[in-house]
Symmetry: C2
Subunit: 368 residues, 2 copies
């Protein structure tokens, strides 16, 4: 059997330098755990525009469709701000998400004990936090038609359409229930069924999928505004949260900020299973391309490394090895290693991007 | 000139008992500050249904339209859960908002120093917090047409329509800028202009109103998901936030939860100016009718009392007297008085609803 394949798209800004650390990790798993991947690399975003005049070529798109997993760094930078909308770096990422039909966006909000002080929330509220928000990513009010700015009488009106079909709701609900089975078997679905018909259908379909296909998973429903409150009050009450594109946009960012360290957070965007049973999958850090610190060895590679841990877990069914990698990250943090973004008011000397990567490799070595 | 009029609608559950304390405060301002109001009282919600078979009679609706300010307690309770949708207690409140066309919902998030420990956020993040969210309340995706659950091919689709006209945006923007002039002259407008055309129009119109009518007010724009993050990270960066119905629904509840004490929070819903220059206005606490503790003297009357302070400020142009009332509340809290909902883990003996009201009257006495 051929090795599973990973397409790496480092992108712009700090993308290449954090991805270089991920390469070290991938190599480690090949050398020490017999997990060998066919790794190839290509361009996306401004880097692709600079070479090809487009943020994503058809050839790269095709390679992404064929890869078992795509690992992306970050895209964008001030150099590209004035470009036409159609060739902006972000369009490369959006094309990937759209053509791969990545409908389930997995946004973990995890708070490492060693970093709990970075949160604006009290330590006991966030220490050990480990929740997962599943956001529907390909439909809803950001995509529905009709949309636009129209003239009515003597004024203009801005219109967008929230729109969900039963099958769109059912497939992302299944993603959430599958995740729950690997975690605490508990899902909370959020919408505004009290004032939106799309929310009524959402609630009904999620409940039906649970009753017919996942009777062992505990399902609750919450209005999205109450969800925002409860995430703020006591986030540990949740495990998996499933919600639509718009509510997920706000709630996943809110949950990320609870942890206090955005530079630490990975994400996965998953689509339908391919022929080999693996889901279409794109993994990327939540943080951006940080052009202000690019090329200086200051970037924190952990979010990108944890994105690879998610790939191990969700694309390659290597949950134990994902645990190992996450534990290695936890170890170096507990040892006090900090990149510049993690320096607290107490000061100290930050480590460089590659020193952080090397330390994680060393912790992996110690784990076997 | 006739005295300004206030229509009191105590409603259900704890509504009547918290409103009884507000009556003491209103009486105090008449006796001690020469601010005499024509106060009348009527039924709304379940209480109206019990007597008239409807949660709001046409006569009460008419009186509300004519009042200079409406003060509402709370509506609803388990006794009415099985009623037809059209006569549920909440319909009375919705009818008031709709027929009075109360398009600007003012939701202050204030954190009294004495209660900062109740927040899930660190004390330094929330102590002294004083922000105001202005939520558009009569349009947007909760009201737009088409809406419903339809059949397409062999499945159903849930549809709602986000819809804002220029004039709807402009009028609520004006409410926010007017408020800013009484506060720190600073407004942040939130939408999702990056992915929604209704957000693009929102941003453009808010900016235009500011440039043409309020050039001295500092205006910034933020995407609503970033807004959720920033509210969580460092809420004191904001003063007045203006946003649409849906984003305001989530963000105002999030901001309320930052303070940690929902039982303390008032609200105002304002419409267009009446002939006398006063806006149509409904004031009510954010909390609900709390049927589980109704009639036991356990309810916290402060949110309802602070709603009257908002009436003093926004309907009767008595900002100094509103300050006086808010300071009196702060005094009793600093003195350690706590109703049952404000008892911390350290325990102590809670005061009753009327003891809290009496203490605030006493603090008012001491202020003159
Ligand atoms: Mg977002
Ligand atoms: Mg709400």
């Amino acid at each position: 059997m051929a090795n599973p394949s990973i397409l790496i798209l480092p992108g712009d800004g700090i993308g290449p330098e954090v991805m270089a650390e991920v390469r070290k990790i991938i190599d480690w798993f090949g050398a020490k755990r017999g997990l060998t991947f066919d790794v190839s690399e290509d361009l996306v975003g401004g880097a692709a525009y600079d070479k090809h005049g487009t943020p994503l070529t058809d050839e790269t798109m095709e390679r992404a469709q064929e890869a078992d997993a795509v690992l992306l760094g970050a895209v964008g930078g001030p150099k590209y701000d004035k470009l036409d909308f159609a060739v902006k770096p972000e369009r490369g990422l959006l094309r990937l998400r759209k053509e791969m039909d990545l409908y389930a966006n997995l946004r973990p909000a995890q708070c490492f004990d060693a970093l709990a002080d970075f949160s604006s929330l009290k330590k006991e509220v966030v220490a050990g936090l480990d929740i997962m928000i599943v956001r529907e990513l390909t439909s809803g009010v950001y995509f529905g038609e009709p949309r636009g700015i129209f003239t009515e009488g003597n004024e203009r009106v801005g219109i967008n359409t929230q729109r969900y079909t039963e099958s769109e709701i059912a497939r992302v609900a299944r993603s959430a229930f599958e995740l729950a089975k690997r975690r605490s078997n508990k899902v909370c679905s959020m919408e505004k069924a009290n004032v939106m018909e799309s929310g009524i259908l959402w609630r009904e379909v999620v409940q039906k999928v649970r009753d017919e296909e996942y009777p062992d998973v505990e399902l609750s429903h919450m209005y999205a505004d109450a969800g925002a409150m409860q995430l703020t009050r006591w986030p540990k009450q949740f495990d998996v949260i499933v919600t639509d594109n718009l509510f997920g946009d706000l709630l996943s960012d809110l949950a990320a900020m609870l942890t206090g360290s955005l530079g630490m957070l990975p994400s996965a965007s998953l689509g339908a299973p391919m022929k080999n049973g693996r889901p279409k999958a794109l993994y990327e850090p939540v943080h951006g391309s940080a052009p202000d610190i690019a090329g200086q060895g200051k970037a924190n590679p952990i979010a990108c490394i944890l994105s690879f841990a998610m790939a191990l877990r969700y694309s390659f069914d290597q949950g134990d090895e994902a645990d190992r990698l996450e534990a290695a990250v936890e170890t170096v943090l507990a040892d006090g290693l900090r990149t510049a973004d993690l320096m607290g008011p107490e000061g100290g000397k930050p480590v460089s991007t590659s020193e952080m990567g090397d330390a994680i490799v060393k912790a992996l070595d110690a784990s076997v």
